[in-house]
Amino acid sequence: MTTLTAVALEDAKVAFRLGDERVYTAVEKANLTVGEGEFVAIVGPTGCGKSTLLNVAAGLLKPAAGSVRIFDQPLAGLNRDAGYLFQADALFPWMTALDNVAIGLEVSGTPRSEALPRAQKWLTSVGLGAFANRYPHMLSGGQRKRVALAQVLIRDPKILLMDEPFGPLDAQTRQVMGNLLLDLWNADRKAVLFVTHDLEEAIALADRVVIMSTGPSSRIIGDWRVSLPRPRDIFEVRLDQEFHALHREIWSVLKDEVMKGYAQSTQAAEAV
């Protein structure tokens, strides 16, 4: 389909030093590629290191071993080609919605007079045109996510990294946000790396679904292509036969990992 690789993790290993001499290996030898214009979702049980992997691709974390290549260039420092949508609230609370979106342009030297109208346009395209002067605390969780999406997209990054961006939202809002994301993505098809623990969300959104095993030392244990036709509607696609078949197939693998993770966490609690 595509020849250029937007993100390539090669044998990436991520380890953290704990308080004492022990070292905690979060991710072991991960190999993952995201092609240009490809939407890849990473799914795994809680605590499997999916977000860690995303932070490595963003340059926020340095892998202990292995390499990260962005458009075939080794990544040094922060990934300047990427926009990052965080799970937690990451908007600047002291700026209005409009300023929060405009700041993405202003830091790279766009004059304010030019940045503001463009920010207003982006707010309108995420459906918040009338909320420009609200501060983040005056917006609902879903509205804050929309602002965050506009904040990232206004910079037109070549790669989108998303860390369970819709995780804190309620089920209906998640689906609406998913459709909004697909609409915006359809316009210029950036490379997307989307982390989630929700398998349905992953299949509905992505071109490829990657499954990770339970941590510590988690690995990538599966990679499925989703060939559902685009453009998709998240509400509709869930009724598709192919969707169900794929869901059953992936879930049979994921289920074991989820149970393993669950067993581990309960044992750990008993040990304490």
Partner: protein, 261 residues
């Protein structure tokens, strides 16, 4: 409760207190005056004293001096607190080295510094400003230090991913965060600036509200002492009101306590 009811109840408290005071200091109960005028004066005399100060215009000079001292103490103390707080928060080594000394100086009751400041800086306004600065500085310092250290990790990462340089992070993330913490302690620090000024005046000066109270006390003019106290309270309430206005303007982005805008 409606605004009017609340206000009338508030006024009622004052009226009852003043009436009791007036009554007990002038009318004997069982042949004895419970509040001897020599020690307690009475509201009428106190009010007469206040009117005299304002009608003769003496009070303006003293108010002006105290206000000047408070403002200077607040500005210098805040500036110092913001700068040092920022510096310490960004340089953990410096903070660690100075930590015991900061705690030591902060533990010291500031009143004992007043004589030193009077010796060093004379009996003019600067010894009072210095006393106020030692009070304001630490409040602002601790708040800014905390504010910079507790910037949300996610917000910082977001700034970085949006392409902010260290300087831009300073300007758009650390600085607003530190300022918001400073403003949240605005009432306390402004209050302490006034305390520093008045205590300094009380301990040795030639003008100001503290001086006025101390003079009245020196000649056992209890009405004068109470009059000074009332003027001082009114003065502090006015300043506090001003601070509230400033705060509302500057912290619009902050959620209020009940979580509503």
């Amino acid at each position: 409760m409606s605004r009017l009811t609340l206000l009338s109840l508030q006024v009622l408290v004052a009226v009852v207190c003043l009436a009791l005071w007036q009554l007990l200091s002038t009318v004997p109960v069982f042949g004895k005056i419970l509040l001897p005028p020599f020690f307690f004066s009475n509201p009428v005399d106190v009010f007469a004293q206040i009117v005299k100060w304002f009608s003769s215009g003496v009070i303006w000079k003293h108010l002006g001096i105290t206000l000047t001292e408070s403002i200077l103490a607040f500005v210098i103390g805040s500036a110092g607190g913001v700068l040092i707080g920022f510096w310490f928060a960004r340089q953990p080594l410096v903070a660690a080295v100075f930590d015991p000394y900061v705690k030591m100086v902060n533990a010291l009751p500031r009143v004992v510094l007043a004589p030193i400041f009077a010796l060093w800086l004379g009996l003019g306004i600067w010894s009072k400003v210095a006393l106020g600065v030692t009070l304001v500085f630490f409040i602002v310092f601790f708040n800014v230090y905390q504010g910079v250290k507790e910037v949300s990790r996610t917000v910082l990462d977001n700034g970085r991913m949006l392409g902010m340089s260290e300087r831009q992070l300073m300007q758009h993330v650390y600085w607003p965060s530190a300022l918001s913490w400073m403003f949240s302690s605005l009432h306390t620090s402004v209050g302490f600036a006034v305390v520093g000024a008045v205590v300094g005046e009380y301990l040795g000066s030639a003008a100001g509200l503290g001086y006025l109270i101390q003079q009245a006390e020196g000649i056992f003019d209890v009405a004068g002492v109470f009059a000074g106290m009332f003027v001082l309270s009114a003065f502090v309430i006015l300043i506090d009101f001003g601070v509230t206005l400033v705060e509302r303007r500057l912290l619009v982005w902050r959620p209020t306590v009940d979580g509503r805008g």
